[in-house]
């Protein structure tokens, strides 16, 4: 039986709704639905297979294509000249500071020496939060006084890493809205002065359509090399990951799956498919 427009239309609409209920951003869900239609119209359907099954199978292929951008974090750390500078950026409250601590632990477990740069010189308790993590992990923090220039703090941390032969500098920055011109300028300066090896955009897997807007804004205005999506354990459905990678074409390095140091999951397509499409 050949798939025609009328047999596809309802199924694709239902499928698009399902995608949106899983936090796939509207424009991405619409685009996926269009691509599915383009690929399936006129295709032959075997007796016994439902249209839904065919759509799901075609969708799996699309997911494969979307997640073609990859970054093997461990390999990157191994092959890059030390000291490596990783700068973590994103809007407020997404999990940057906690994620830095998790990555520091991972590096320690792999016998690397990380040091932390307290680049959030603005928010109440930011330095204390980072220091507490550093203390628990037994690693060094470089910080200046409250209100200092974050670019200078990070610069200082890299110089320190070089002198002490530390492997990786994990630079924390304050959360900021992409709508705040001064803060975006500050971020550009941080990157210009320090030329990070990776700029990592940390956002929450539980954010909706705005995740795409902010990823694109940060990518356009500062440039990002990879994503980390946190709070997956809050029952996130995974659509945010799909939308964000679809738009930025940058890889997801990790998922944050909880508040403990071990709650950092390296991105894998199979894990994504199992986790979110069951």
């Amino acid at each position: 039986i050949s798939l025609d427009d009328s047999s596809l239309r309802d199924t694709l609409w239902e499928f698009q709704i399902e995608l949106m209920e899983c936090d796939v951003a509207l424009p991405v869900a619409e685009r996926i639905s269009e691509v599915l239609r383009e690929r399936l119209i006129g295709k032959k359907r075997k007796i016994g297979t439902s249209v839904e099954e065919i759509v799901r199978e075609a969708f799996r292929e699309i997911v494969d294509e979307i997640f073609i951008h990859s970054l093997d974090f461990d390999e990157f750390i191994e092959k890059t000249e030390k000291p490596i500078l990783l700068v973590f950026i994103g809007v407020n409250g997404t999990g940057k500071t906690t994620t830095i601590a998790k990555i520091a632990k991972r590096l320690l477990d792999n016998d690397y020496t990380p040091i932390l740069a307290s680049g959030d010189t603005f928010r109440a308790g930011a330095e204390e939060q980072l220091r507490e993590h550093a203390e628990r992990l037994g690693i060094r923090v470089i910080a200046h006084r409250y209100g200092a220039d974050p670019a200078a703090v990070i610069y200082d941390a890299v110089a320190h890493a070089r002198a002490r032969k530390a492997d990786v500098v994990l630079a924390d920055t304050s959360g900021r809205m992409h709508t705040n011109v001064n803060l975006m300028d500050q971020l550009r300066k941080i990157c210009r002065v320090n030329t990070p090896d990776l700029v990592i955009f940390v956002d929450e897997a539980i954010a909706g359509n705005d995740a795409v807007e902010r990823a694109m804004r940060f990518e356009r205005e500062v440039g990002i090399d990879a994503h980390i999506l946190t709070k997956v354990d809050a029952d996130a459905k995974g659509g945010t990951a799909l939308s964000v990678v679809y738009e930025t074409k940058k890889p997801i390095a990790f998922f944050g799956t909880g508040q403990r140091y071990e709650d950092l999951k390296k991105f894998s397509k199979d894990w994504f498919l199992k986790q979110f499409l069951g």
Binding site: I17, M20, E21, C22, D23, A25, L26, P27, V91, N92, G93, T94, G95, F122, R123, A124, G125, A126, E128, Q129, L130, R131, E132, H133, R136, M177, H178, T179, N180, E204, I206, A207, G208, N209, D210, A211, E213, R214, R217, K231, D233, A234, D235, A236, K237, G239, T240, Q259
Partner: protein
């Protein structure tokens, strides 16, 4: 005060001159897309679209109203019904419990809210009941000290319920007491249990759900969990100074029955505004 997509939709109606089904369908589809992009719950958007369409086609436009005014009125009314009125903020002695997901803005909003009551003549104190997050005690303490707000916390106490018991003992002289709690989500059973225990001990007059404007479809299930655990009496939507529209708040309103009290529009102490349904709706319709 209309968002751009609504203006576009209404322009299409204006050209048609009468309430014709094809044009209404097109207008409803535009509204639907705007609401979905604003993170309103998908099922809720579909139900709303159906109601708007039925009313637009079946109801008689009021005397003297054009077709476009009629459809506009229906859309606006349906949204106003969903969003409800802003919460009444009583300037009297009360205990307020702040709850919500990790990173939603509870600690910052606790300080903002304390400043709000303080400016209006009420002796207000903030209490740190977050003994889990590194630096949580210092964060609230610094905010409080910077703005002359009395603070209570116990840096090394392992039991959050004990902290609030002691807090209420020690802060009796303060008329308004606002209790900041650690972030938690629906699947963290022990943390939800802890919250129920804190709630029992405090017996707050208000339980505010602090919700990030950017939250996606999860808003409904999370709001349900908090409502089931402690009974939400008010909602605060934060980070509206970004580009997020706060559509998740509509789910929170409908599952808790609670009104929106305030919105957070920045990181400073004064970046707290009373909720305004009209500007919220116009932002929602983008």
């Amino acid at each position: 005060k209309l968002g751009k997509s609504l203006r576009e939709a209404i322009r299409k109606l204006a050209r048609s001159g009468r309430v014709d089904e094809a044009v209404v369908n097109e207008v409803v589809r535009d509204i639907q897309r705007a609401l979905l992009q604003s993170d309103v719950n998908v099922k809720q958007v579909m139900e709303l679209s159906k109601r708007i369409k039925e009313r637009a086609l079946k109801e008689e436009p009021l005397k003297g109203m054009t077709a476009r005014e009629h459809v506009l009125r229906v859309i606006y009314q349906e949204l106003v019904n969903l969003i409800g009125k802003p919460a009444q903020i009583e300037l009297k002695p009360q205990k307020i419990l702040m709850v919500g997901l990790q990173g939603s803005g509870k600690t910052t909003t606790t300080a903002k809210l304390a400043r709000y009551f303080q400016k209006r003549g009420l002796r207000t104190a903030v209490i740190c009941a977050d003994n889990f997050r590194p630096g949580a005690y210092e964060q609230l303490k610094q905010l409080a000290e910077t703005h002359g707000i009395p603070f209570y916390g116990e840096k090394n106490e392992k039991n959050a319920v004990k902290i609030v018991k002691n807090a209420l003992e020690n802060m009796k002289e303060y008329e308004v007491k606002i209790i900041d709690t650690a972030g938690r989500h629906a699947l963290e059973e022990e943390l939800i249990e802890e919250l129920k225990n804190i709630n029992k001990v405090v017996n707050p007059d208000h339980k505010f759900l602090v919700l990030d404007a950017a939250i996606g479809q999860l808003a409904k299930e999370q709001a349900e969990a908090f409502h089931k655990a402690v009974g939400i009496t008010g909602i605060i939507v934060t980070k509206l100074d970004g580009t997020a529209k706060g559509g998740g708040a509509l789910s929170a309103i409908s599952v808790t029955g609670a009104p929106v009290a305030f919105v957070g529009t920045g990181e400073r102490i004064d970046d707290l505004e009373r909720f305004d349904p009209d500007s919220f709706i116009s932002r929602l319709l983008g």
